[in-house]
């Protein structure tokens, strides 16, 4: 019989479990179904609850926190509309494999299924976009469920786990016991260690390759395997490209780095992919934004693929050597196996010569004539001023691609964006989460006037908790990426991509209790940005009026192969692309 002292109500059990998991922040929004939990939060001081102004904002903040720190993000929302608002945030984390535990309140058990006030089928609505979910109907199961949820969220291929808790369950009492033993779920056993035979085969193939290529993705960042991968790449003298999600996994200023690949990747990265004879894919999933036309993808290459998720292997492309396992563990093994090697790197010198030739094309060059600020220049200048010593979050659109192309990321977990789902509104709340998780870092949210308006209200959250970040808004008055596609594929019919009646962002920032700076002329860009960077403890909205006609280059139109690149000012869009060509 447990003593009185050890009996807690469901809400208190949640708090104790979160403490046991080392949770620092809970991002959330209260409501009727979670009032017991909010009462329990009120009565303790170890966990800080961050009140967002929209559940989507809470989820993105928890997500940004998780991406910046590598820890599990925690969010708490009420039932019904609270949960439906959170779905976009859950789906965003799911698409990018981010570890999160989301608590949602549910109507009391007795009312479930009765169309009660603020009732939705939370488990049902989120099912396609969670790694796993629970509806806890018995308070005695609560602690155990939370422990399992944290384990599932953070192990294997990470992802969001939902725990739906009826109001009565958070009120009922039960003895509290949080097991110290590792979680054991018989049906859930991720393969961590790669098959040693396959690893040896892969290394043999890599050493024999004449034109090897390392293509690394978000999995390397998520699994904290950058160091090992970098070491291995240097030992084998391989050219390295990162996906959008993988930026920072390999230092951007390293000689072997050829830039990002894919739709808006560099000429050298895509050409190297197209011509390589052995493709070494590490924690990357052959996304359609990377591969383009699958029939033209790496036509000459044997493919080695490391992924912790077996369903990612051979999903889109045929793989010659699949290795199922954690990137970290496989990389460690490969580093160990190559420790005493004397690898003859001269054999791939011709390959490097060829890559240097491609590099000369300068595919990221842009025209700076005219009296408008070029968006690329903004990112380059910010990079120069900060020395890359910052965390950069982004929203989704042209600014996201420019940030990926022109800001050099030398370390993992410094580049935070919604790569998989492409969620506008992600950047700013994610910046708040990242700053809370890593308060010593300077955090910049690179956004556009379209994206920022989707989560602008989170400026109040930043005010309440004093979370200073810089909002770098590339304001061109257009939904830029939509406008770019309409220019290329819809004969310049700019249907609804023009942002009319924009607010005065400076006044808005001031209304929220922050500062605002507007930059309109190219000659004032650097000095004003320097001022902004120096405003360390302030949230600053930097409204930068940029050239609205600028497009993101290089570009591989969808359906194209890696070698079908369009470069700025060199190849104009060819008319081979029929009108009304679809986006994906």
């Amino acid at each position: 019989m447990a003593t009185r002292k050890h009996r807690l109500n469901g809400a208190e059990i949640i708090i104790e479990a979160l403490k046991a998991e080392g949770t620092e922040f809970v991002f959330g929004y209260p409501g009727g179904a979670v009032l017991h939990i909010y009462d329990a939060l009120y009565k303790q001081e170890d966990i800080v609850h961050v009140l967002a102004r929209h559940e989507q904002g809470a989820l993105h903040a928890a997500d940004g926190y998780a991406r910046a720190t590598g820890k599990v993000g925690v969010a708490l929302v009420t039932s019904g509309p609270g949960l439906t608002n959170a779905v976009t945030g859950i789906a965003t984390a799911h698409a990018d494999s981010i570890p999160m535990v989301v608590f949602s309140g549910q109507v009391p058990s007795s009312l479930i299924g009765n169309d009660a006030f603020q009732e939705v089928d939370a488990v049902g609505i989120t099912r396609p976009c969670v790694k796993h979910s629970y509806l806890v109907k018995d308070v005695n199961q609560l602690a155990d469920t939370i422990k399992k949820a944290f384990y599932i969220a953070s192990s294997g291929r990470p992802g969001p786990v939902l725990i739906d808790i009826p109001k009565d369950v958070s009120a009922q009492e039960a003895p509290f016991h949080y097991d110290d033993a590792p979680v054991h779920i018989p049906s859930y056993q991720p393969t961590v260690e790669g098959h040693i035979g396959q690893i040896k085969k892969a290394l043999k193939m890599l050493k024999k390759a004449k034109r090897p290529m390392l293509y690394s993705g978000g999995g390397v960042v998520i699994d904290n395997a950058s160091e090992e991968m970098t070491l291995l790449a240097r030992r084998l003298n391989m050219p390295v490209t990162n996906t959008l999600m993988g930026l920072g996994a390999y230092p951007a200023n390293d000689r072997q780095f050829v830039g990002m690949l894919g739709m808006h990747g560099t000429f050298e990265a895509n050409m190297a992919m197209h011509h390589c004879d052995v493709l070494f894919a590490v924690g990357a999933r052959f996304d359609d934004r990377v591969t383009g036309n699958l029939e033209k993808f790496c036509p000459k290459a044997k493919i080695i693929h490391i992924d912790i998720d077996p369903s990612s292997i051979a999903k889109n492309v045929k793989v010659d050597i699949p290795i199922v396992g954690s990137v970290k563990s496989v990389m460690q093994e490969m580093v160990r196996l190559t420790a005493d090697d004397t690898f003859d790197s001269t054999r791939i010198e011709p390959w490097w010569k060829q890559i240097e030739e491609w590099r000369k094309v300068d595919s990221l060059g842009f025209d700076e004539s005219g009296d408008r600020i070029k968006p690329q220049r903004v990112i380059k200048t910010l990079y120069e001023i900060t020395g890359g010593n910052a965390i950069v979050t982004s929203d989704v659109g042209q600014h996201q691609m420019w940030a990926a192309q022109y800001f050099g990321f030398h370390e993992p977990r410094r580049w935070i964006n919604s790569g998989g789902l492409g969620t506008m509104g992600f950047g700013y709340p994610a910046a708040i989460g990242a700053k809370l998780g890593r308060p010593d870092e300077d955090v910049y949210c690179i956004t556009g006037e379209g994206s920022i308006q989707m989560m602008l209200q989170e400026m109040t959250t930043a005010r309440q908790y004093n979370v200073p970040t810089k909002i770098i808004c590339l304001n061109n008055g257009y939904l830029g990426m939509v406008r770019q596609w309409q220019e290329f594929f819809y004969d310049k019919r700019y249907s609804m991509s023009y942002m009319d009646s924009l607010p005065d962002f400076i006044k808005l920032a001031e209304a929220y209790g922050h500062s605002g700076v507007r930059i309109e002329k190219p000659e004032e860009l650097e000095s004003k940005l320097r001022e902004v960077v120096a405003m360390k403890d302030k949230t600053v909205f930097v409204d930068i009026l940029t050239d609205p006609s600028e497009n993101v280059y290089p570009m591989i139109p969808s359906g194209g192969g890696q070698a079908d690149m369009l470069l700025a000012g060199r190849d104009k869009m060819k008319s081979v692309f029929s009108e009304g060509m679809v986006l994906v």
């Binding site: 049902g124 099912r127 796993h132 979910s133 018989p186 049906s187 859930y188 998720d309 077996p310 369903s311």
Partner: protein, 168 residues
Amino acid sequence: MMTRRHVVSVLMANEAGSLSRVVGLFSARGFNIDSLNVAPTQTPSVSRLTLVTFCDDQLIEQINKQLNKLVDVIKLVEIEEHELIDREMMMVKIIADAESRGNYMQLADTFRAKVVDICPTNLVVELTGSPRKLDAFIAMIEPENIRELARTGLTGVAVTGSGKCLEL
């Protein structure tokens, strides 16, 4: 690639939401499940699910991987046609008066089916066998005379010695 019938046998947790996760994998991709049969095993906390779908070999590999990824799924195996012992049960309510009843009873007898209910206007036949056999029986009855038809969907196990034993 060639589309053909695939039979997947799955052991999974017998819990709320487990089945919808399996079904959701299919609906999310716009695939049809041809038949689905699920019930608890000798261990009440574990269910066996037998799933039939028509697709090509690459797709079934992806389906199997995705199924395996579900936290509820303990293990699964795809059973090839030649190693499969499959059965399905069916009940057919047939419109039959005194005049036609005899013919249907004779038909049932030929198919080794059982007549389990009779009234002046209908009779109900129970039949177990391979899906093909069930189809053949239905083909012998005029469609307008079939009042109700209920099939369980395919269930089955692999033959002993096939190496495809899905033991707990």
